[in-house]
């Protein structure tokens, strides 16, 4: 029957409220865990059946062996008695033995089959004619109307034509066999029932958690990135998966937030210069009186658009740096060399501004990272220091107007600093200035996009380090603290829930 027809049937035959239950049940049976349970259960049941079967068979064999051995010994003894005392003695002994209660069977017959002594009444067909071992049914002599019993008997031909039959009732053996078989069946049944129930409950438990995860991921997919997968706290594989997926969500959410921030800022901060550009062109069209005016307007437009492109490039670079953890090429280089090169490049500019630019670097500082991005980041810091490094109040107090770039070792980290004696950044604003497009009030007069420090922070993160803004007493000391080994991918917590 195909699945479809079965479902049709089930909807027709089964009351409505059972439908969803059946569905839930079917879902349960489809879980990997339940299927695995079934497989193991089958294997275990077959194994148990084999074991019990072997046990039963072996027990039966052992009992049979024991019977044959004792019967053999008894026949040997009786044959001896016959040889010594003749048939009278044998009949006498059999008579006395047959009277004892128990499972032993005895019969002595003449050659024609007439019983002389013993406790066996009725025997199976042709048993007496067959010399040797036979399994047969019998009735006892003292209970001719009773039930038939099974017995294992041996018929022995005595020298003068008499026949001697000695045997044992097999009821004991059969009962033991039956008990073992019954026990085996019961235990297998119990194993199956318990196993199925266990599998069922385990599957239901796992299914519930997976369902909860599916539910959460659905809300996340629907756009609510703040959702997190439930963590049960049992530190099992599902928990570890949930913790790692949560860490991933955390990262995605951060990226999305950054993305949204950037688009908001682009909308806000690029709109202003674009509008200015538009207005300037419009104004030129309306009021220009000759080539000279047009030229001036066009040149201003070009300058404005160059500035826009520059801002745009800086934004792109930040976005790429923030997202490009895996694709950015990393190599070994000397950080001290980079710092010295920059100091040399910016020295004339600083001097022109009335600032002394000094490099404090002792020895090479090999590190692993992206040289170009790091150069750009440090250049941004030096550039900032030159722009904002002058402070009248500080100069009046005798603080030298200088910028110090320094590189130092700190264990497995490298500290690259650019320090000035300018007005500095108030502690409350330090976190703020790193954000995109943020410019402090006093810096609005200088040209710039407000993206410089954002890029520095992004480059620091890319290398697994950080940007620290400190007080230079007076002034600002901006430090990049980077691991020598370069990039360190964010670690995923193996067991503890993400912070």
């Amino acid at each position: 029957m195909t699945r479809r027809r079965w479902s049709e049937l089930s909807t027709r035959l089964v009351p409505a409220w059972v439908g969803p239950r059946l569905n839930a049940l079917a879902k349960l049976f489809h879980t990997t865990l339940f299927k695995l349970t079934l497989v193991y259960l089958t294997i275990f049941a077959v194994f148990a059946a084999c074991l019990l079967g072997y046990f039963a068979w072996n027990t039966r064999r052992l009992i049979t062996e024991q019977i044959t051995r004792t019967v053999d010994a008894e026949i040997t003894g009786l044959a001896e008695q016959y040889n010594q005392g003749g048939i009278q003695r044998l009949v006498f002994i059999i008579d006395s033995r047959a009277r004892r209660p128990g499972s032993s069977l005895y019969l002595v017959t003449t050659f024609s089959g007439d019983g002389l002594a013993g406790n066996v009444g009725v025997l199976g067909e042709g048993v007496l004619e067959h010399v040797g071992w036979t399994e047969t049914v019998y009735r006892r002599l003292d209970d001719p109307e009773g039930t038939e019993h099974h017995a294992l008997v041996r018929v022995f031909q005595l020298p003068s034509g008499f026949r001697l039959l000695v045997g044992r009732d097999l009821e004991e053996r059969e009962r033991l066999y039956d008990i073992i078989l019954a026990a085996g069946q019961w235990s297998i049944a119990v194993v199956i029932v318990l196993g199925l129930a266990g599998g069922f409950f385990a599957a239901r438990r796992v299914l519930r958690r997976v369902d909860a995860m599916t539910e959460t991921s659905k809300t996340i997919m629907a756009g609510d990135l703040s959702g997190r997968l439930p963590v049960a706290g049992s530190e099992d594989e599902l928990d570890r998966l949930a913790v790692n997926l949560n860490a991933m969500l955390e990262r995605i959410e951060a990226l999305m937030r950054g993305f949204k921030e950037v688009s908001d800022n682009i909308a806000h901060d690029l709109k202003t210069p674009l509008t200015r550009l538009h207005n300037r062109a419009e104004e030129a069209l309306r009021t220009a009186k000759g080539d000279k005016d047009y030229r001036a307007a066009l040149e201003a437009t070009l300058d404005e658009s160059d500035e826009l492109i520059r801002t745009f490039n800086a934004l792109l670079m930040i976005a790429r740096t923030e997202s490009g953890q895996a694709s950015t090429p990393m190599a070994e280089f000397d950080a001290a060399d980079v710092l010295q090169g920059l100091a040399e490049l910016y020295d004339p500019l600083a001097e022109e501004k009335g600032l002394a630019l000094r490099a404090e670097v002792d020895g090479a500082l090999p590190m692993r990272g992206n040289r170009e991005l790091l150069t750009q980041a440090l250049a941004n810091l030096v550039d900032n220091a030159i722009k904002y490094g002058l402070c009248d109040a500080a100069a009046a107090n005798g603080v030298p107007a200088e910028i110090v770039v320094s590189a130092a070792n700190e264990g497995d980290r490298i500290r690259l600093c650019v320090a000035d004696h300018g007005p500095g950044v108030p502690p409350a604003d330090r976190e703020h200035v790193v954000q995109r497009f943020v410019r402090l009030e006093q810096s609005r007069t200088e040209p710039g996009s407000g993206l410089g420090l954002s890029l520095v922070a992004a480059v620091a993160h890319l290398h697994g380090g950080e940007l620290k803004l400190e007080d230079n007493n007076p002034g600002l000391k901006a430090c990049l603290i980077l691991p020598r080994s370069g990039r360190q991918l964010p670690k995923l917590a193996p067991s503890e829930p993400s912070a």
Partner: protein
């Protein structure tokens, strides 16, 4: 100078071609990689301007194919991918220069002219001369007229680069790339300060200035 512009953006290609023609160059256009490759193999060009992302065949593969066939025409790669490693990839593929979009035409023109003149340029000369300014590349001596000029090592390299391309416009980015080996946007006009220092050493006190600022483009050393 004869140029081939391989660029699938019709507007951009037309704009560049028109601008090159205005300054007196001949510019052919190809809208995709296959046609660009066919033209470059068929005709003689001084410089090829190749966009990286092209239909039918991408820019880097066009360059690779040309180099494999022994065509050594200088290639300038245009690309919207401005990342550091993209430039390295472009140059490794056989490009001679790399310009990320968006670019200004003056920057493109300056770079193309430098590329075109590189073959048979002044690379081999040991002494560069512009008017009475002399730079000896072996002894690292610079003099103007009878006066010796003392330059810092970096100033020497700056002047060397400018004199190597005497008569050509050299942009700030070109100087930053070739003299300092930096490939980033310095935001402020760091180069200008270096130039004005150099200018004060070679032009100050002489009636004829040699180091000129080309507005909106860069700098140039020339005789007149």
């Amino acid at each position: 100078m004869r140029l081939l512009i391989v660029e699938d953006d019709r507007d951009a290609a037309d704009y560049i071609a028109r601008a090159f023609r205005e300054v007196g160059h001949v510019a052919d256009q190809a809208p995709d990689g296959e046609e660009g490759l066919a033209l470059a193999l068929d005709r003689q060009y001084d410089v090829l301007i190749v966009d990286r992302m092209l239909p039918k065949r991408d820019g880097l593969s066009v360059i690779g194919e040309l180099r494999a066939k022994g065509v050594e025409t200088p290639v300038l790669i245009l690309s919207a991918l401005g990342q550091v490693d993209d430039r390295v990839k472009g140059l490794r593929a056989g490009g001679d220069d790399y310009l990320p979009k968006p670019y200004s035409f003056s920057e493109l023109l300056a770079r193309v002219e430098v590329l075109a003149r590189r073959r048979g340029g002044r690379g081999e000369e040991t002494v560069y001369r512009v008017a009475d300014l002399e730079l000896d590349r072996l002894s690292h001596q610079v003099s103007r007229g009878k006066e010796e000029i003392v330059l810092q090592p970096r100033e020497f390299r700056l002047l060397e680069y400018l004199m190597k391309h005497a008569g050509q416009v050299v942009t700030r980015t070109m100087l930053l790339e070739n003299v300092w080996d930096y490939h980033f946007d310095p935001q402020t006009n760091v180069i200008d300060v270096h130039i004005s220092r150099l200018r004060s050493k070679i032009d100050k006190g002489f009636s004829q200035p040699l180091l000129h600022t080309v507005r909106g483009a860069g700098y140039m050393i020339r005789d007149k």
